[in-house]
Structures are given as C-alpha cells and as structure tokens.
Amino acid sequence: MLSFFRKGPIGLEHLVSKAIGLLGDARHSFDLATLALLTDTDAAAVDTDIRETDERMSQTEQELRSELVVHISVQGAADIGSAFGLVLLTNKIERIGAQTRNILDLAEAGAHLAGQPDTEALLAERSVISALFGEAAELMAEPDEDAIEDMSRRCEALQAEQQEKIAGYLHSTEPGEVVVPRAIYYRYTKRIVANLLGVVIAASEPMPADDTASDGLSDTQS
C-alpha cells in the first residue's frame, strides 16, 4: 500500500530500466555459453547458471509485459509508440536468449573450439559482440541517432563477415567436424548481432517513419 506514497522509478523509465536489465542477463548468458564453446570451461558447469538466468529472464519478460499493459491502461495511449517499441525489443531480447541457448547446446553436444588455430579470432569476435550488448544497453537508455547509425554500420559489417565465413564453410573441403560447428556457431552469432541491432532500432524508432512525399499526386493521377 505504501507504494502509492513512495517516490520511485516511474512509467516508461522504469520499464526501459527493466528491459536494460533483461539485456544484461542476456549478455551474461551469451558470455557463459560462448566460454563453454570457445574455452576449456566445462559446459555442464555453466549450464545451471544459464538456466537460472533463463528463468529470471522469463520472469522479467512476463513482468515487463504486464507492466506495459498497466502503463497503457493507466496513462492512456500517449506512449503507445514507445510501448510498442518495448514489446518489440523484449521479443528480440528473447530471441537473443534462444540463440544463446543454442550455442550452449552446441557446446554440450560435444563441439569444442578451444585450442584451435582460429580460437583467438573467435574469442576476439566474441568480445566485440559482448561489447555490443553494453553499447545497445546505453543506447536504450539514451538514444543517440549518430551512435545508432555508427553501431548499425559496424553490425552490418560484422554480419557480412560472418555470412562470408558461413558461405566459405559451406563450400569448404575441410572435414565436417571442423566446418559444421563453426558454420552453426557463426549462424547463431549472426542472428544475435542482428537482434542486438534490432533492439536498438526498436528502442529509438519502433515504427519506421514513412517519409514518402506524394504531394497528393496519387490522388489525381490514375
């Protein structure tokens, strides 16, 4: 009952903070899952942590959706655009979580990319993607058009590199046990990068603005 009288995080700010927290959990899961695949970390050891994080994320997603309904019911439809954006980005964070679980499943299935010639490169790329989580969280809190554009360029470049590698593995003559885990891993990380960019875009512009200027021509011309 005292919640009525207490001051505290309000409205959309509170919901955005919650979504940022959700993204933080997704990053934690990503870091652990990729550790299990790319280093000598025991997959079973991180499995429990990732499952608990997963449950926490599901709980947070439920709460976020409920609180969005409450927000719109109480505050009216003025924030409908932002609320829609929050729903979208929650879905995208959920997908990131799903891709992260896929990476863990790959490690638990026996794929092991530690101590390989390309492990350093894989770990370096892992760090880049992990940093993207932090950048996305900052942009969710404080959208910046220029920073979003810059992140967009880097994500697209990264996805292009990953796609090139996947294409290379598809036509590679190396043994299956070498190329298959890598192709699958790059497919998952490519989706994660795409969804991270999607999170940032949903936070800043949930509905793409239609800037088509017809000047009424379509009204009079058949």
Binding site: I10, V69, V74, A78
Partner: protein, 380 residues
Amino acid sequence: MSSTTTEKGTFGTMPTWLRAILVGGFIYLFLVGVSALEAGVKVMGQDTQERLFESVSNPLAGLCIGILGTVLVQSSSASTSVIVGLVAAGAIDIDTAVPMIMGANIGTTVTNTLVSLGSARQSSEFRRAFAAATVHDFFNVLAVAILLPLELATGVISGTARWISERLVGSSGSDWKSPIKQWVKMPVGWIKDFWSWIGLDGNTLGVLMIITGLVIVLASLTLITRNMRELIADRVERSMNTVLAKGNGSIAMLLGLLITMAVQSSSITTSILIPMSAAGVLALRNAYPVTLGANVGTTVTALLAALATGSPAALTVGLTHTVFNVAGILILYVPPFVRDVPVYCAEWLARIAATRPVWAVVYVMGAFIVLPLVGVLVAR
C-alpha cells in the same frame, strides 16, 4: 527511448505545483456548485419542492431515480453531491435520500461495463473484461438487495450514519458552523444576484440557480478528475503493479480506496482495471477488491459536498453512502463463504455475453435504463 513525464491535462504541460493549485480551485468551484444548487432549491417555494420531489418518497422510485440520474451524468460523485444538496435544502429528507444514494452506487457501474464492450470482438478478452466490469454490478445489486430492506425495516444504515454525524457536528435539528459554507457564501450570492439582476425571481430564479449549480458541479468534477489523474498517474501505475505482484485483497482494497479518493472518481479507477483484466494481466479475484475500495473511496465527494452545506442532515446522507458501502464489504466480501458469489455471477454472465455479445448490450440497456424506468413508473 524517453518516457513521457510531461503532464498534459486541462492546460497542456504544467508544473505539478501549479496543477495542484488548479485542482484546489476546482474543488472550491465544486463546493460553490453544491451550495448554489442548495440555494436554488431553497428559493423555490415549499409547495413546488413537495410537488417536484414527492415521487421519490417511494423507496423503489428513489432507488431507480438514483440509478437513472447517475447513468445520465456518468458519475456517482455528481449524483450523490446533488442528493446531498437537496437534503441540505430540505427538499428531501434522509429517509428519501438513502435509496437514491444506493441507486447511485448501482448506476455508476455502467461506465466500466461500457468500457468492457470495447473488447467485444475478441471472445476471450471480452469474457475477462465483461466479468471484471459486472462483478462491480453484482456486488452493488446484492448489497442493495440485502441492505435496502434492512434499512427500510430497521433504519440501521442511516441510524449509524446519524450517530456518527451527531458525534462530529451535533444533531440534525441545528446548523453547524461549517467554515466551508462561509467560504462559498460570496460566490453563491453573486450567482443569485446575477440571475436576479436579469429580472428573474421565484421558481424561475430557483430553477436557474439549480441549473447553474449542476453545471458547475459537473464541470468542476470533470476537471478535478482529469487533473488529479495527471497528477497521480505515476503513483496509480506503481500501485497497480503492486496489486499485480502481491495479490493481497486488503492491499488491493486500500489501493482502490486511495486512488479513488485522489482522483474523485470510482469510474476512473474501475475503468483502468478493464483493459488490464482483458489482457489477462489482472485476475478477476484481484480486480474485485480494488473495485470495492473504489466504492468506498468515491463517498468522499458526497462528504465534501455536505461540508459545503453546513447541514447535519446532509452530512448524515454523505455518511450513509460510506456506511452502506462499508457494510456491503463486511457482508459480501469479508465472510469467505460469500466472497465469491459476485465473482461467480460475473463469470456466468460473461460466459453468456462472450458467446453472444448482443446479450451484453441487452444487459446494459435493461439493467441501467429499462428496468429503472419501469421501476419509476410502477412505483409512482
């Protein structure tokens, strides 16, 4: 993503302190309206008053007029304030006012029932929304069904209210020096002088003053509600999230009470619950106690109106509204074996309405317009 923290309302974006002062001004205007209404009735002769209000002396007619009047203005706060003003003016007595007050309780539930009809196209959403709306209807109808006969036979509700009123301000026979009445005396005098200056007197003057008072009451209540909603929307949101998280009936009821006292409208509070229930975010058994709290919270307006009149009888009527709602909770919610009765009734009706939405429209028209009209005609 940035949140919308600007407060839009009557005058667009406005600092909180300024909006709070504005609300204070609207509350003052509301008190002026009630006082003007009382003054207008007093200007009319005793004979005219008796002719106008003799039909409501029948309890059934009074109950139905209470329902119809509240449905018309979509606000139990407005209708109960008018009833308080009529009692203060001596046009009706406490015994006549009590069934009208009970009717106002029923009439106000039409708003959230209408809101629930917005989900009619989605069957499962509509079932949940309609149940959340009609649980309020069933509680009020059951409360009236139990407490009105009891009141008519024993006077227990009005007697309790009278006892409280006497402890606060003395007996009904004397006027008490309400400071609020002194504050609103001058503007009411201006309204009377204005209509007199135009050349009106007698019953015509009385009618114009009543209409002026009514318009001021309705307008000021609307403005109070709109601005208070802006002022406390964030607190309401936080409280609703608490209700969802904790699910405790007492907390939910207290929050319903607080929110309604703050926004001065039970319809606002209960209408917020409808989309939340429709979405499945708020369970019916969690929405129900919020509704009951709103029922009690809305009685504050009639008490405020009574303070503007300086009439112990008016205060008794205001307190009757509160006592009636509290008694309803004690009889229909506190005992665990009856708590679910309004819930089961609402779920049953919602199942029917979800299958054939036309029955929902029939229910609204029948329960809130046709039956009360028939009741008035039969009781006359």
